[in-house]
């Protein structure tokens, strides 16, 4: 993996809120095109870390580079080179499909011509041309999720952060969503994803598991299962997270 370009480098990252340490000495690297699963119980410190990596919050200390940019001094460049999607925030319900695409394209500084041609490409790929002028609020959840992901990578970012992207989605749509993730990864986009579905942890190239602000395990799903001598990632997760004290 050494020869591969590292698009996220985190060294000794700390984030403290008063005397509470939310991120306690995190160190990890993520390679270009990798699907990196970022797991942990509620309250383990995942959201805090993601905010720092997205340039939304300063770390207390540590060396952190995202897409080659420093999260202390080059936050705007960090933001330009990443995409973000969560289950809670994705698209504007009272705008149409195309208006949402145009809005996000515009925010990331794409030209009108670029937006139009890329929008066509995207709607063809998702088989959503027929819904181009429909309000987001009128779309089934599964379509929304797929569109939200595509919009998050519309500006071709180095990395896309997905915060529980598939919560509450039916099992068929959830798998179609992972098709998009694999597809993006093959196109060289690094995927940083959190999930509560442990079968999805198996789909990641590598998985880190946070407990009480620390990364307690980081490896491929295969090696983690061997290390903990269990059959699936759910059991790996349970054996680590049961010892947590900062559970919400």
């Amino acid at each position: 993996m050494n020869e591969k370009e590292k698009v996220i480098r985190v060294k000794n990252m700390y984030k403290k809120f008063g005397d509470f340490t939310a991120n306690n000495d995190l160190s990890f690297e993520v390679s270009k095109g990798e699907i990196f699963g970022f797991l942990g119980a509620n309250g383990a410190g995942k959201t805090t870390a993601i905010k720092i990596l997205c340039g939304l919050s300063f770390p207390t200390s540590g060396e952190i580079k995202v897409a080659g940019f420093d999260v202390y001094t080059e936050r705007e460049s960090v933001k330009r080179n990443i995409g973000y999607m969560s289950q809670k925030f994705s698209l504007y319900e009272d705008l149409t499909v195309f208006e949402n695409i145009r809005f996000y394209g515009g925010i990331y500084g794409l030209s009108k011509a670029e937006i139009n041609s890329k929008a066509d490409e995207l709607l063809d790929k998702l088989d959503l041309q027929h819904a181009r002028n429909k309000m987001i609020s009128a779309l089934p959840l599964g379509w929304k999720q797929k569109l939200a992901f595509s919009v998050a990578i519309f500006h071709n970012p180095e990395i896309v952060f997905l915060d529980e992207p598939t919560g509450g989605v039916d099992p068929v749509t959830r798998r179609q969503f992972w098709d998009l993730i694999y597809d993006a990864s093959r196109a060289g986009i690094t995927v940083f994803v959190t999930t509560h579905y442990m079968d999805e942890a198996e789909y990641c190239d590598r998985v880190s598991i946070m407990v009480d602000g620390k990364i307690e395990a980081l490896d491929t799903p295969e090696k983690l299962k061997k290390q903990f001598n269990v059959d699936d990632m759910d059991q790996v997760f349970l054996s680590l997270a049961r010892h947590a004290t900062n559970i919400e």
Binding site: N42, G167, V169, P171
Partner: protein, 308 residues
């Protein structure tokens, strides 16, 4: 004590959207019953109808034999309902919330302590904290106490484990098992297919329709096809390859494997292996396996007649 739920041809529309379509369902007294389905399936609408908070467009629901429309007030006295959204008073303390709900139901906390004791002891250390300042898991426990404080015969829980990590989820199901022993009928909605196995019977629900009602074991038994787990050096590429295989009936990612069904009755393992080898795959392992609830749900929801 009858604490059954009887649902007969129940439908609910919001304008032109039909959220529930002719639901028929009988939930037995004392049963731990699961309503399993994704967002938008109609679970919350069904709960609100049962909780007498919505009027049905058509059909009848009876709880303990009492009609949910004609005698809604009676039902409210013996029904506990925990909505999906945290709906306690954030600016009251833990104990104030509990006292409030006890008073509304004309009772006192101390008269009902046996009912909530096992859960209450876990949040009692924080009883003077404002409910809004509790962590997610604690809020959930307080909401459960408030839903139980009037000793309901029927308890409706709308997605109590959504967005909750797998440790807290398994703790919550432990609490439900404890409540079941007290004889309460519990109906719990969840989008997590694996939680179906913790219920006695489940209804699989999608797009306002019930796909199937049965015990988890029987649902799994009724899976129509032979199911195979397929694994190789590159599962995603194998998925793409299998989609192009002429005899593929269905293929889905499933954790560390793929789940595959063949269109033919006679499945030729060697042929499939050879096909994948020709595609450049190695370390191919094919095994016949037992279907899970999730396999069944996907098979039912992708049947042509169930599609939109």
């Amino acid at each position: 004590m009858d604490a059954s739920i009887h649902i007969d041809n129940l439908s609910k529309s919001y304008g032109t959207i039909q959220a529930l379509k002719n639901i028929n369902l009988d939930i037995h007294s004392g049963e731990l019953f699961g309503l399993i389905g994704p967002d938008g399936a109609g679970k919350t609408t069904l709960f609100r109808l049962l909780a007498t908070l919505l009027l049905p467009s058509e059909g009848v629901a009876k709880l303990c034999g009492i009609d949910s429309v004609a005698e809604y007030k009676k039902i409210r006295s013996f029904l506990g309902y925990m909505p999906g959204k945290f709906s306690l008073y954030q600016d009251l303390s833990v104990i104030e919330n509990l006292e409030f709900f006890a008073t509304v139901f004309n009772t006192r906390i101390e008269d009902n302590m046996d009912m909530i004791h096992d859960i209450w002891v876990q949040i009692e250390p924080f009883k003077n904290r404002l409910a809004g300042k509790l962590s997610g898991g604690m809020k959930q426990k307080l909401a459960l106490c408030c839903a139980l404080i009037h000793q309901p015969k029927i308890l409706l829980l709308d997605e109590p484990t959504t967005g909750v990590d797998s440790v807290s989820r398994s703790e919550f199901w432990q609490m439900l098992k404890g409540l079941k022993k007290k004889g309460i009928t519990i109906v719990v909605a969840t989008p997590y297919m694996d939680e179906a196995n913790l219920c006695e019977r489940v209804a699989l629900i999608q797009d306002g329709e019930i796909l199937q009602v049965n015990s988890p074991a029987e649902i799994v038994e009724q899976f129509e096809k032979d199911l195979y787990s397929v694994k190789s050096d590159d599962n995603y590429q194998t998925l793409l390859d299998l989609r192009e295989f002429e005899h593929t009936n269905s293929v889905f990612l499933f954790g560390q494997n793929l789940h595959f069904t063949d269109t033919r009755k006679q499945f030729a393992e060697d042929e499939l292996k050879q096909y994948l080898k020709n595609k450049g795959r190695s370390n191919i392992v094919i095994e016949k396996i037992q279907a899970s609830i999730e396999d069944c749900f996907m098979a039912l929801s992708t049947k042509p007649e169930a599609n939109e």
